[in-house]
């Protein structure tokens, strides 16, 4: 064989060896690729389960109402084990230890990313039926709307991310709050259309049409779209075969936060009950119910059962929230994290009626008060006091829940007045918004910091 022949063999061999793309194909196991995940209803539902799992993570069962409770006039630091991490939230400073809000901001967007992936994934799926696409997409839009509702209320203007391509999403700046609300409203209106009436699980741990309506009703208070707030809350209240007000009773099984409660519109499933950060409520010493001037501790009428059902003495230092009572996994008793419940819908309808000048404002408030055993406002209650009565009732009924107090104070323009009394010397007007985590600004220089934290 001559040299030339060798050369030919060598070169042919080299080309053959490196030309076979099939040899490099890999088939992953226990992993679905983007497309495969939305190929069947079962897999797409699994991703949806993953979405709820993520939703139930940090923003809610974690720090969610803890941070807002500290920011508002609801909670205060407890004993020495109060983590320095939370100090800056309580004192409205951007200190060096901000890791708790890093994960807070990040937790919202990580979950939003999953919603975006699902909405895009099912839309592009060639195999799912339209009915399935509609339902799954509706659930994902509800979740996305819920998350933006929290983001816009904690941070003000925030980036609106509705797609998954990082080359686009990494450079999105903060968008005006009204655009964020427009996005939320759009998602919820679509979800109301796309979602079925019935719950997919008996425990109301996945959203149905009424959950979307209930959230839209709440969001409409913030956008001052009173008609929508009225329509949506009325529709939910009218669905009496699904929802009814529970009873306030010391017996835990009758607790309105029990997983079987018919007052619940949507709740997040959890394994071991509702924890606050890493503390379960039963062993709570790091935080306590704020006891300063105007404390909720003095807010209840003597006959109001909520005083004992929602708040309890702490073994260590004053009082602790007592809505959730489960300390450990107890198979005989289950408690999940309630996101939407009927009592709030009455208060929303009351507010919408008030703003639209319709009758029945005190009737709706008294539904909530009657259940608590508190004196009724009755028809003679002066209309001039409606606004204050509503803010007060929201506080008494929805304390420690879903940042309601913090958001209501800001929404109704009372934050400055209330907080400068509750925390004189500490409060400042810029504290109504949280600081954008510095790491986020580092990684996306288009983000600008909120006032008061530069």
């Amino acid at each position: 064989m001559t040299m030339k022949n060798y050369c030919i063999i060598l070169l042919t061999g080299l080309l053959l060896l490196s030309g076979c793309d099939k040899l490099l194909e890999v088939k992953p196991e226990y992993i679905l690729t983007g497309k495969e995940a939305y190929a069947t209803e079962a897999t797409a539902d699994s991703v949806l389960t993953g979405l709820y799992n993520s939703l139930a993570g940090a923003p809610f069962t974690g720090d969610g109402f803890l941070l807002s409770g500290l920011s508002a006039d609801e909670l205060k630091p407890g004993d020495a084990s109060f983590m320095a991490d939370y100090n800056f939230i309580y004192n409205y400073t951007l200190g060096s230890q901000e890791s708790s809000t890093n994960s807070f901001w990040g937790g919202f967007y990580k979950t939003i990313h999953i919603s975006n992936a699902i909405i895009n994934g099912v839309t592009e799926s060639a195999t799912l039926t339209d009915a399935v696409k509609s339902r799954i997409s509706g659930e994902a839009k509800f979740v996305r709307a819920l998350l933006y509702y929290y983001l816009v209320n904690y941070y003000g203007d925030v980036p609106i991310v509705t797609e998954t391509n990082y080359n686009v999403t990494r450079n999105i700046p903060r968008m005006p709050a009204k655009d964020v609300y427009a996005q939320i409203t759009k998602d919820l209106k679509e979800a109301v259309v796309q979602l079925p009436d019935a719950y997919r699980t008996t425990e109301r741990t996945r959203v149905n049409k009424y959950a979307a309506m209930a959230l839209l009703a709440r969001v409409s208070l913030f956008t001052r779209d009173w008609q929508t707030a009225l329509d949506m809350s009325a529709a939910v209240i009218g669905k009496s075969d699904l929802y009814e007000m529970g009873e306030l009773a010391a017996d835990t099984t009758l607790n309105i936060f029990h997983s079987d409660s018919r007052e619940t519109i949507f709740q997040l499933w959890t394994t071991y009950g509702v924890a606050v950060g890493s503390y379960t409520l039963s062993s709570w010493s790091s935080f306590a119910v704020a006891d300063g001037p105007g404390s909720i501790l003095n807010g209840y009428d003597p006959t109001d059962k909520r005083k004992y059902n929602f708040i309890a003495p702490n073994d260590y230092n004053g009082y602790k929230p007592y809505k959730y009572r489960l300390a450990d996994a107890d198979p005989s008793y289950k408690e999940y994290y309630v996101v939407l419940r009927l009592a709030e819908q009455y208060l929303i309808r009351a507010e919408a009626r008030m703003e639209l000048g319709l009758p029945g404002v005190t009737d709706d408030i008294d539904v909530v008060r009657a259940r608590a055993g508190a004196p009724l406002l009755g028809n003679s209650f002066p209309a001039a006091g409606y606004r204050d009565a509503l803010v007060t009732e929201r506080r008494l009924e929805l304390c420690f829940e879903n940042a309601d107090r913090w958001f209501t104070l800001k929404r109704t323009g009372r934050a400055d007045a209330v907080m400068s009394q509750a925390k004189p010397g500490t409060w400042k007007s810029t504290a109504v918004l949280y600081p954008v985590p510095r790491i986020e600004i580092q990684n996306n220089p288009l983000l600008k910091q909120n006032d008061g934290y530069q």
């Binding site: 490196s18 490099l24 995940a37 699994s46 389960t49 990040g106 990494r170």
Partner: protein
């Protein structure tokens, strides 16, 4: 005269012709086999300017004669004109050989060419034609394949496996010459051999012609190598008596930094060859490639359960522990672009080739190596005594204005105030025993060779007297070649299985126990006044691993110049872990529930490597060409079951009794395909150039970016071959300049990242769901490493001294990293190529020599020093990335960050650190700055071997200079934890000048101290790594015992360390340090 000189082509020519003579590769050239009768055929040859080499080749080609000749003899460039017609071989030889000053001899079918003696000694009249029998040995044992030549007659004999040779005709006065690659040439009087029956050869002072194994089994000598590689031989490994072959390399290879992270049995040493190239902080991405007998060896731990014994503190279980060091023939460390290019992407962090011992032709031999060793902890930390400890506790409370209570301070109230236990004496002062045995049976014929062996090791640790590492391994290899020698096949099987049950106790948990503590209550139950380290012994830790490696390599010689070969390899590594934490082992105050973890991990790897190997020589030109391909399929899988909430310990045997079970399965597949070619050109052994080109494909990239093209150039100029050097600088036996440059790729980023992975969620939402785990980016591609290497290699003073100086610069860019992004994208990062550039540069000096050599005493010395600099050259957007407290431009990658420590405030006893941004507050990360690096600026080893008669003494020091850490923080006085005595120097009262803060119960008061440079100590060291004394029994004794060799040895490891580091060990910190061990063993061949 017959001093070996190697020619790459020739040596390669020979490696395949005949297995019998494979070992002669270095010395002889066998030009064809199977001659029926010499002279049987007649030849024609008409040519001008014929060198002896060409003449012999022609002879061999036309006549199929087997010709044995020293490569030295045919290096002559003398040329003659030849014109023969129809001549016999013998006629040709008679006519022309004398013109080259050569003689020949026909021995049966073989023609042996020798140098013509100018003054032939006349045969002694008394004892002509007397056969001479002798045995050749070295300190290591019997020497096989030594060439023995009677200088008078030119008769050549080769020693068999037992070292025996027979010369048929030798007079007493004859001079017998013995040569062997890697050994000093020896001239002995035949009479002396008759008298002693034995000849002793000594290792060459230099490794000039020591054959190195290169990629894919190519061989090359130091003389013609263009790449940078270091070889460590069995002889050197044997002197260390370590359990893990990689540990034996510490300090022995310039440019290779071996870090012992733990002294626990089976722990994995961290290896960096020429620094860290990648920003990827996963240690696995920094690992070199390990190849055992041609098959890639998965050196990454499969451990999933991190709190298991061997995996404690990141000291992962090492799959490499399964390779018994005494079964290793050589370890080759390939460093530069030229040496590693052929492995492409996989070799970006360097390549470690491990070759196990193979069978040799000869009668059946039984090799036994047995040793036992006893090890103890080498250092004791001086801790406070009871009075000092109690004072510390009181003072800390008093400083913080706290009044101690019985609940928080049981040691001040409940416990004895006078009891004293030296915990190190009580629990860490025991001996850990190791028994190691290795048996090999080997032998073979010229066509078939085999080796079957088995080994066993039991290695215990000092604190866990029940449990240890038990390891068994077996191996078999066989090679066979066809009658016409054209087809050859070899098969290798290695198997090992081990069980490591060492309890996961961190020695510092024991060391820091208060001196007045009692781990047990009066009723015999565990004392939980503080966390009790002895509780760990009630937990069950089991790591079972299994390792199989198989390979088959058929090869076929199409022509004398062209060989085809396919290596097919399979490796299978498994690790089963069990970790059971019963209620009894947990603090009862925390209402414990039983927990159990069961994990199975496996990696299977299939490798196919076809290759064509061509070489051709004409006149002074040598050409080699290698064309090959690699196809690797790697499958890894883990299956884990975490079972929580067993209500009772007795129910823990069945996982179904758990309240909750979290099961997880992962699997990944990796495929690697590449084609490569290597072209080499050698002009007269003086100018040598090697080019490598390869195209690598990896399944870790999206289809569009799968392939990368990489290349390297290596060149050498052997100045000592030039006439003017030979004439003017005769001092040099070798003077060589060598350099290489090349680009290799790196795909160390993990599998499947280029599409969105939907994986089972960690937590449940009623059931488990699926969740996307990454962002979509299919545009990333190969990381690129550019490596440049220049070296000067010299050998001087008749090979008594050799000095090598090597300089290298490696730059790796296009870094494959998880690039940080704003979380608004859904994730904190995305896999992409980052424009950061990491540079590693350094000098490597290797000196070896024979300072003293006389009849009885031989002193060999070797020293290597590596100066290394690692720095981050650029990193776009570093300040704004999450890497901004990990890396700094211009600084090494392994950086300790922290506050700059300014001292202790004499007024308050509080630590003072620098306020870098001068905002009046000390905060992380604003006031953090890069402090020190853990990478040594200089490291190496110094070895000395003294041979005196049958006794050999080897002393080996290793050192690392200018490195820092691991940090040792100051415990707070609020914890029930004892402290080393140097904390007694704390601030006590106003005005005290000290470097140690006041005692305090508050970790935040110590934050400034414990996050500062004050706790990062200088960890430079010089260590007497091994001291080995051995005795070889003389031939007389061996004859009486009827064995071929017997060596007794005693080795001490880690005998002393000179360091200022206050922890247990400058490398392991406060974790289990490498132990001081003494081994006694014997090695024999029967």
């Amino acid at each position: 005269m017959l001093k070996t000189k190697l020619n790459l082509m020739y040596q390669k020519n020979t490696s395949y012709r005949s297995a019998v003579f494979l070992r002669l590769v270095h010395l002889f050239i066998l030009l064809a086999v199977v001659p029926a009768v010499v002279n049987a055929q007649r030849m024609n040859f008409n040519a001008r300017h014929v060198t002896i080499k060409q003449l012999l080749e022609e002879l061999r080609r036309q006549n199929n004669s087997e010709i044995v000749v020293s490569s030295d003899l045919i290096r002559s460039t003398h040329e003659i004109d030849v014109d023969v017609k129809n001549a016999t071989t013998e006629e040709v030889l008679q006519r022309f050989l004398s013109r080259f000053n050569l003689a020949y001899k026909v021995d049966g079918k073989t023609i042996i060419i020798t140098a013509r003696e100018s003054n032939p000694v006349p045969p002694s009249p008394v004892d002509t034609s007397k056969p001479l029998k002798g045995a050749v040995s070295s300190l290591a044992g019997k020497l096989e394949s030594v060439t023995v030549i009677n200088r008078r007659t030119g008769e050549v004999a080769i020693t068999a496996a037992n070292g025996i040779f027979i010369l048929h005709d030798a007079a007493d006065a004859d001079t017998v010459q013995l040569t062997m690659l890697g050994y000093e040439k020896l001239l002995v009087k035949a009479a002396d051999i008759r008298k002693n029956g034995q000849v002793m050869m000594t290792t060459a002072a230099n490794g000039l012609d020591v054959v190195s194994v290169l990629a894919y089994g190519q061989h090359v000598s130091r003389r013609t190598n263009t790449g940078s590689s270091v070889k460590v031989t069995a002889e050197e490994i044997e002197k260390t008596a370590t359990a893990n072959p990689i540990l034996a390399l510490q300090g022995r290879v310039a440019g290779m930094n071996v870090n012992i992270t733990s002294g626990l049995p089976g722990a994995h040493p961290k290896v960096q060859i020429r620094g860290v190239n990648t920003l990827n902080m996963d240690g696995r991405a920094q690992n070199p490639l390990y190849i055992v007998d041609g098959v890639p060896f998965p050196a990454n731990s499969l451990a999933v359960v991190s709190n298991n014994g061997t995996t404690y503190s990141g000291a992962y279980d090492s799959p490499l522990k399964s390779i018994d060091p005494s079964s290793i023939a050589t370890i080759e460390v390939l460093k530069d672009a030229d040496a590693t290019a052929i492995y492409g992407a996989r070799g970006a962090n360097g390549v470690i080739l491990i070759t196990t011992k193979k069978g040799k032709p000869g009668p059946l031999a039984l090799d036994v190596d047995v040793y036992t060793s006893s090890a103890r902890i080498a250092k004791k930390i001086n801790m406070m005594n009871t009075a000092e400890y109690l004072q510390m506790r009181r003072e800390a409370a008093a400083n913080d204005g706290i009044t101690p209570t019985a609940a928080a301070y049981p040691d001040l109230f409940k416990w004895s105030q006078t009891a004293y236990t030296d915990w190190q004496q009580a629990y860490l002062n025991r001996s850990a025993h190791t028994t190691n045995a290795e048996v090999n049976v080997s032998g073979g014929t010229s066509k078939t060779r085999y080796l079957v062996g088995a080994g066993f090791r039991k290695e215990m640790t000092i604190y866990d007297l029940k449990n240890g590492l038990m390891l068994g391994n077996g191996r078999a290899n066989i090679s066979h070649q066809s009658a016409n020698n054209k087809f050859r096949v070899s098969g290798i099987a290695n198997f090992s299985t081990d069980k490591n049950d060492v309890a996961a106790i961190n020695p510092s948990e024991i060391i820091t126990l208060p001196p007045n503590y009692s781990p047990y209550n009066e009723d015999g139950t565990l004392n939980w006044d503080k966390s009790n380290p002895l509780a760990t012994t009630l937990k069950t830790t089991k790591n079972k691993s299994r390792n199989i490696q198989l390979s088959v390599s058929p090869e076929y010689w199409f022509t004398e110049d062209l060989k085809g070969k396919v290596m097919m390899g399979y490796s299978d590594t498994r690790l089963d872990q069990t970790y059971i934490s019963p209620i009894a082992s947990q603090n009862p105050n925390n209402s414990p529930k039983g927990q159990a973890t069961f994990v199975n991990g496996s990696v299977r790897s299939y490798t196919v490597e076809p290759q064509l190997d061509y070489h051709h020589t004409w006149k002074k030109h040598g050409l080699t060409a290698l064309l090959g391909g690699t196809y690797i399929v790697n499958k890894s899988a883990t299956s884990s079951n975490f079972a929580f909430g067993f209500p009772a310990d007795s129910l823990m045997g069945d996982i179904k009794n758990a309240a909750a079970i979290d099961s997880n399965k992962t699997a990944a597949m990796y495929k690697f395909l590449s084609g490569f070619t290597r072209l080499g050109y050698n002009y007269n052994n003086t100018y040598i150039v090697n080019l490598t080109f390869r195209r690598d494909g990896s399944s870790r990239f999206a289809p569009a970016n799968r392939y990368g093209n990489f290349w390297s150039v290596g060149a050498a100029w052997v100045l000592s071959e030039e006439k003017w050097v030979r004439n003017h600088l005769p001092l040099f036996n070798l003077l060589k300049l060598r350099g290489s440059y090349g680009i290799t790729g790196n795909d160390n980023i993990g599998d499947y990242k280029y599409f969105v992975n939907y994986l089972k969620t960690y937590g449940q939402y009623e059931t488990y769901g699926l969740s996307p785990t990454n962002l979509f980016n299919d545009t990333y591609r190969w990381e690129e490493n550019k490596k440049a290497d220049v070296a000067l290699e010299t050998t001087m003073f008749s090979n008594r001294l050799s000095v090598d100086v090597n300089y290298y610069v490696n730059k790796s860019g296009n870094q494959l990293v998880e690039y940080p992004l704003g979380t608004q994208t859904g994730f904190g990062s995305v896999v992409m190529n980052l424009g950061a550039v990491v540079q590693n540069s350094g000098w490597e000096f290797t000196v070896s020599g024979t300072p003293l050599k006389d009849k009885k005493l031989l002193w060999n010395s070797r020293l290597n020093i590596s100066l290394q600099r690692n720095k981050l050259l650029s990193f776009p957007g570093l300040a704004n990335s999450s890497y901004n407290t990990i890396y700094a431009i211009g600084r090494p990658l392994s950086l300790y960050w922290g506050f700059e420590f300014l001292g202790i405030d004499p007024a308050t006893g509080a630590p003072v650190v620098r306020d870098q941004n001068r905002d009046g507050a000390i905060s992380y990360p604003a006031d953090y700055s890069p402090l020190m690096t853990s990478l040594p600026a200089c490291y190496g080893g110094l070895g000395n071997t003294f041979n005196y008669g049958n006794i050999s003494l080897d002393v080996f020091f290793s050192f690392k200079i200018n490195r820092y850490g691991p940090p040792i923080s100051m415990p707070t006085g609020g914890d029930i934890t004892n402290m080393p005595v140097y904390f007694l120097q704390r601030w006590k009262a106003k005005g005290d000048e000290t470097e140690i803060p006041a005692y305090t119960t508050s970790s935040s008061k110590l934050y400034g101290y414990n996050s500062s440079g004050a706790i990062i100590k200088d960890a430079s060291y010089i260590r007497l790594s091994s001291l080995s004394l051995s005795y070889n029994f003389s031939a007389n004794v061996l004859k009486r015992l009827h064995i071929r060799s017997l060596r007794l040895y005693a080795t001490g490891n880690n005998l002393f360390t000179i360091t200022r580091y206050p922890g247990l060990d400058p490398e392991a910190g406060m974790y289990m340090p490498p132990l001081r061990s003494f081994s006694f063993g014997l090695r024999t061949q029967i």
